[in-house]
Amino acid sequence: MSFHTLKDNGVVVVDVDGQLIVGNRQELKQKVLDELEGGERKFLIDFANTGYIDSSGLGVLVSLSKKIREQGGELRLANLNEDLRTLFELTKLDTLFNIADSRDEALSSF
C-alpha cells in the first residue's frame, strides 16, 4: 500500500494504492492533516487503485471529512468500484460524502 499526492488546480488529490485498512489508515490521515495544516482546503481522494477498505478506513474518511469541514474546506471521493460502493451504501456513508464517478467530474465541480 502507498499514497501518492499531487496538486491539481488548488485541489490536493490523494491516490490510495492498495488497501485502506486498520494497519495503515494513520498514514493517510497524517498526510491529509499535514496538508490541511499547510493551508490546503480542497481534497479529493481517488480510489481507482484501491483494493479494499475496512471499517477503520471508513472511519478515517469520516473524521477527515469533519476536520476539513471545520476549517471551511471540503473532501470529495472518486472512483469507487462496485465493491467499495457497496460498503458506503451498507454503512449509509454514501449520504455523508460527495462521491464522484471520476476524478475529472470531482475536480471540475470543486
Binding site: I21, G23, V62, T95
Partner: protein, 161 residues
C-alpha cells in the same frame, strides 16, 4: 532434530477437506498479510468473485482487527488464532483471541443518524452484514463466521458476477 514439526508440515500437502490455521502475533501489521494468505487459499479452491473480494476480505479483516485491538489489547504476549474450513458450498472462519470477551448485543447501530458521523463502531455491523452467519462464543473472545460461496436469495451483500 524436530522431526515432529517437519512431518506435520508435509501432511499439509495431502488433499482432503481444506482446513487451515494461522496463529498470529497481536500486531495490526500482520492483518493484511494474513488476509492475503486466506484469500489466496480460498481462490486456489476456486472460490472467487465479490463474495471473496468484498465480503470475505472485509469481514475477516474486521474480526482480526477486533481480536488484536480489543480482545488482546495489543498485548505482545498474546496471539490470535484463525481457523478456516473450506467446504464445497461455504467457508467457515473462526477468529479467537485471548481476551476476556464482551457483549456483542450491546453495540449500537452505526447507520442511525446520530451515529453516522462517528469515526468508529462499524466493524461488527460490517461483519453482520457481509457474512451469512456470525456468532460469538459465550465468553465473547471467539467469533465464528460463515460465508456461502454463492449469494443466498435474500441477504445483503453483492451477487456474484
Amino acid at each position: 532434530m524436530n522431526r515432529g514439526s517437519a512431518s506435520r508440515r508435509s501432511d499439509a500437502d495431502a488433499s482432503g477437506p481444506e482446513h487451515f490455521v494461522l496463529e498470529l502475533p497481536s500486531d495490526l501489521r500482520v492483518i493484511e498479510a494474513a488476509v492475503g494468505y486466506l484469500v489466496g487459499r480460498c481462490r486456489a479452491a476456486s472460490f472467487q468473485g465479490p463474495r471473496l473480494d468484498l465480503n470475505f476480505r472485509v469481514g475477516v479483516t474486521e474480526a482480526l482487527a477486533n481480536a488484536v485491538l480489543y480482545g488482546n489489547a495489543r498485548d505482545p504476549r498474546k496471539t490470535v488464532k484463525v481457523e478456516v474450513s473450506l467446504e464445497p458450498n461455504r467457508v467457515v472462519v473462526s477468529v479467537a483471541d485471548e481476551g476476556t470477551g464482551f457483549d456483542p448485543g450491546s453495540i449500537p447501530d452505526p447507520t442511525r443518524p446520530e451515529n453516522l458521523h462517528a469515526a468508529g463502531g462499524r466493524g461488527l455491523f460490517l461483519i453482520r452484514n457481509l457474512m451469512d452467519e456470525m456468532q460469538y462464543n459465550e465468553r465473547g473472545n471467539a467469533l465464528r463466521m460463515v460465508l456461502l460461496r454463492e449469494v443466498p436469495p435474500s441477504r445483503t451483500g453483492r451477487a456474484s458476477g
